[in-house]
């Protein structure tokens, strides 16, 4: 590879960073909290730099989120190796919030008690604002499965919220 190629790749990377650094950072923040979000975002772009030739010209955002998804998974694994408390991990995603309204608090608890796949789907859709096609790319599933899974995840979330509001024993179940 010539040095001119390196320069071209550098420009492409700069553009990628400029456009998407905030979305990637927020993605990491939602899942890791303030303590690790910045490092995780930096790791996402480090991987992106090495894999720049694989970037999807049609949808760089989905490509970056797919990287972020794996980086976050790796962070979780590292954390669990260190301390391994599932509940702690589920809770830390919302650390940056200031005192949240009660309805949010219940929703966050309900989210934390969902299966990781359900939680991720809901967050990618509602918080990260990804399209159905982008979600499919990030999670490595078929596009037509996204709608079905989203529907099921929303139903489960609603059931959790309802049971939390009524204090049903179901709420004591450990998060997945």
């Amino acid at each position: 590879m010539s040095k001119s190629n390196v320069v071209e790749l550098g420009a492409e990377f700069d553009s990628l960073f400029q456009l998407h650094h905030d979305a990637v950072y927020r993605y990491c923040l939602r899942r890791l909290g303030t303590l690790d979000a910045e490092d995780a975002a930096a790791e996402v772009f480090t991987v992106a730099w090495r894999r720049l030739k694989e970037a999807r010209a049609d949808n760089n955002r989905a490509w970056l989120f797919a990287i972020a998804y794996r980086v976050i998974g790796n962070h979780y694994r590292s954390r669990r190796r260190r301390r391994g408390l599932v509940a702690r991990l589920a809770g830390v995603a919302y650390e940056p919030l200031a005192e949240p309204p009660l309805e949010f608090e219940i929703l966050h608890r309900a989210l934390a008690e969902l299966r990781p796949t359900d939680r991720e789907l809901l967050q990618l859709s509602s918080w990260d604002g990804l399209t159905r096609i982008e979600i499919a790319h990030v999670l490595g599933i078929k596009e037509n499965a996204v709608d079905q899974r989203l529907h099921r995840a929303r139903s489960r979330l609603k059931a959790r919220i309802d049971s939390l509001n009524t204090g049903s024993p179901e709420t004591k179940e450990a998060p997945a």
Binding site: D39, F45, G73, H108, S126, W127
Partner: protein
């Protein structure tokens, strides 16, 4: 609902510090060398020219737990299909190995031992104690060169005719990252990206900048800090005649980037250890200048060698030896009985070093068991497999490992039970993040897909007991249960309260107890480790104190009583001379006997 969810986004108004984030990225992608003082997670040491490539930081990446204090009974390894010779080594396993003709030199992981093994006879011929923490070994110039971690990093020249270290050379203030014997010289790069060329008589001929990746095609291959690319170094020291078009050589300190390079079939193969993406194998063709990715293969690739026209790659995380056809790209995975580290060729045979149980094994590739089919690959987890062997019409035995351990841990037990007419299915789920419920569901799904119905004898080790109990819950097809040193309820919390100053309990104590019912009158044997065994290792005791070790051991022993109470038809067993969590390795015979007993117990 959707609106509420959107409004509840905790990061909706959060913005990153652009400059700081960009600085962090730039630091990672433009800095080719180590940050001083950071212990490297991967050490690419001992890339012996044309023979061995091995990663030697196995202690850090495998398990925090130390090996059993007992010498494992390795005899059974020879009964595992495809395993021909077994060379028993010191507990602690192989750190790295190098080949010199028919001699294999091994550095052990924990005990600072250098061992000489005959590749022809498989005999352990000599063991030398080295007065230094040694992490790598390379052979060349009539000497054995050891890469030492002490004194800020040093090279030790070992004279095998005298049986001692006769020369020590400093390594520029950082331990070795990699070493190769090439063009009649020893080339060593350290963690700070300093490359030294050392003559056989111990003279430092040249010091330059670069990070060693391996040798092949008549060149040395070094990460070039000025471009972040891997480029050639000719025998006369000329650099950059060939440049590999990859950025993968950039960031070895975070465990990413190209780990080693070997030549095969006139091309250069690059083993890339990029964790978030799994690992990757790429091939560089010097004729075209093209670099082609072979795609991700599996997690945790460690070492690579060419043997009989195929590439052989070890994967320690899921107990696999992987064969890659360099022409067709076909990938075949084989089960090996332990955590594989190095892979190399000696005496015209393929050898694999197992970190645990510490041994070298000569393998017959044609007789190895292919890994089971993937039955669950969900949520980006590492693939889950079910490996079934034995008589399809025989009584069914399910082996559920503890987390972080794959089904290779059952190899000896599986081979012995299969030989006795059982149909034995080992559940392979290496992802320690999987919850007990997920593991139980995966096991059920795997058995259903394989068409293997009950009744089953269920055997579970350590924290695998949680998923096993969930699997058994509500079923009427469990003929018997054997629990092998099950982890006591609340052990992780007890550990943390007892030892608040240590860095948390071991990872395998992470899984919380899963609520599951009892086993009624199902025949149950609960095998506990040797009651006189101390908790963990001598190293642990040095750190935490003997009293803490005794307390933890007592807690574990008392916890076994809970499990014995799960059935009205149970019996406790003590496995003499077994370490905690090491019953599978130390006394496989006892587990086999237990399975036979519960399967014949009415």
């Amino acid at each position: 609902m959707i609106d509420l969810l959107e409004r509840a986004d905790p990061a909706r108004d959060a913005n990153p510090d652009f400059i700081r984030l960009r600085a962090k990225v730039d630091e990672r992608i433009h800095r080719p060398t180590a940050k001083p003082g950071i212990r490297r997670p991967w050490l690419n040491a001992a890339i012996a020219f044309g023979a061995v490539s091995a990663i030697v930081a196995l202690v850090a990446i495998l398990r925090l737990q130390q090996p059993s204090i007992y010498a494992p009974r390795l005899d059974g390894l020879g009964e595992v299909p495809g395993i021909e010779d077994v060379v028993k080594l010191a507990s602690g396993g192989v750190q790295t190995a190098a080949v010199d003709g028919d001699t294999i030199w091994v550095v052990t992981a924990l005990a600072n031992l250098l061992q000489r093994i005959s590749a022809v006879s498989g005999d352990l011929e000599m063991t030398y104690a080295i007065d230094s923490h040694v992490e790598g070994v390379v052979v060349g110039g009539g000497y054995v060169w050891l890469l030492g971690y002490d004194n800020g990093g040093e090279v030790l020249r070992f004279d095998s005719s005298l049986g001692n270290v006769d020369l020590r050379l400093p390594l520029g203030g950082a331990p070795a990252h990699g070493a190769v014997w090439f063009a009649d010289n020893l080339w060593v790069s350290n963690d700070q990206g300093q490359l030294q060329r050392i003559s056989a008589n111990g003279e430092i001929l040249e010091t330059s900048v670069g990070e060693l990746k391996g040798a092949g095609l008549g060149y040395l291959w070094v990460n070039d800090p000025s471009t972040g690319l891997i480029s050639s170094v000719a025998t006369d020291g000329t650099r950059g005649e060939i440049v590999i078009p990859t950025f993968e050589g950039l960031d070895t300190m975070s465990g990413n980037g190209v780990r080693s390079v070997i030549e095969a079939g006139g091309r250069l193969w690059l083993l890339d250890g990029d964790f978030p993406w799994g690992t990757n194998l790429s091939v560089f063709d010097p004729a075209t200048g093209e670099l082609e990715s072979f795609g991700g293969t599996t997690f945790g690739l460690l070492a690579i060698v060419e043997f009989e026209g195929s590439l052989w790659v070890t994967s320690h995380t899921d107990h696999l030896l992987i064969r890659v056809d360099p022409e067709t790209g076909e990938v075949t995975r084989f089960s090996v009985p332990g955590k594989a580290g190095g892979v190399f060729v000696a005496d015209s045979s393929l050898w694999v070093s197992l970190y645990h149980p510490g041994s070298l094994v000569r393998v017959d590739p044609a007789a190895l068991l292919e890994a089971g089919d993937i039955v669950v690959d969900d949520w980006d987890r590492f693939p889950h497999r079910l490996l079934c062997t034995g008589d399809p019409a025989g009584p069914r035995v399910i082996l559920e490992p503890n987390s972080w351990i794959d089904y290779g841990s059952w190899s000896v037990i599986q081979a012995q039970l299969s030989a006795q007419g059982f149909l034995v299915c080992a559940n392979g789920f290496v992802d320690g993040d999987a919850t007990p419920a997920e593991r139980a569901a995966a096991l059920d799904e795997g058995l259903t897909e394989a068409g293997i119905s009950g009744p089953y004898v269920l055997v579970a080790a350590v924290d695998g007991v949680h998923s096993a109990r969930l699997f058994a819950e509500g079923r009427s097809d469990i003929a018997g249960v054997v629990l092998v040193d099950p982890i006591p309820i609340g052990f992780g919390d007890f550990y943390d309260e007892l030892l608040p100053d240590l860095d948390g309990h071991p990872p395998w104590a992470d899984l919380e107890e899963t609520v599951a019912g009892d086993l009624g009158d199902t025949p149950l044997l609960v095998i506990g480790h040797d009651p006189t065994a101390v908790f963990l290792s001598r190293k642990f005791i040095e750190g935490a104190g003997a009293e803490a070790a005794t307390t933890l051991n007592r807690y574990w022993r008392e916890g076994l009583e809970f499990y014995s109470g799960l059935s009205t038809n149970s019996r406790p067993l003590e496995a003499e001379k077994t370490g905690l969590d090491y019953v599978l390795w130390d006394r496989p015979d006892l587990v086999v006997e237990a399975v036979i007993e519960v399967s014949t117990n009415p």
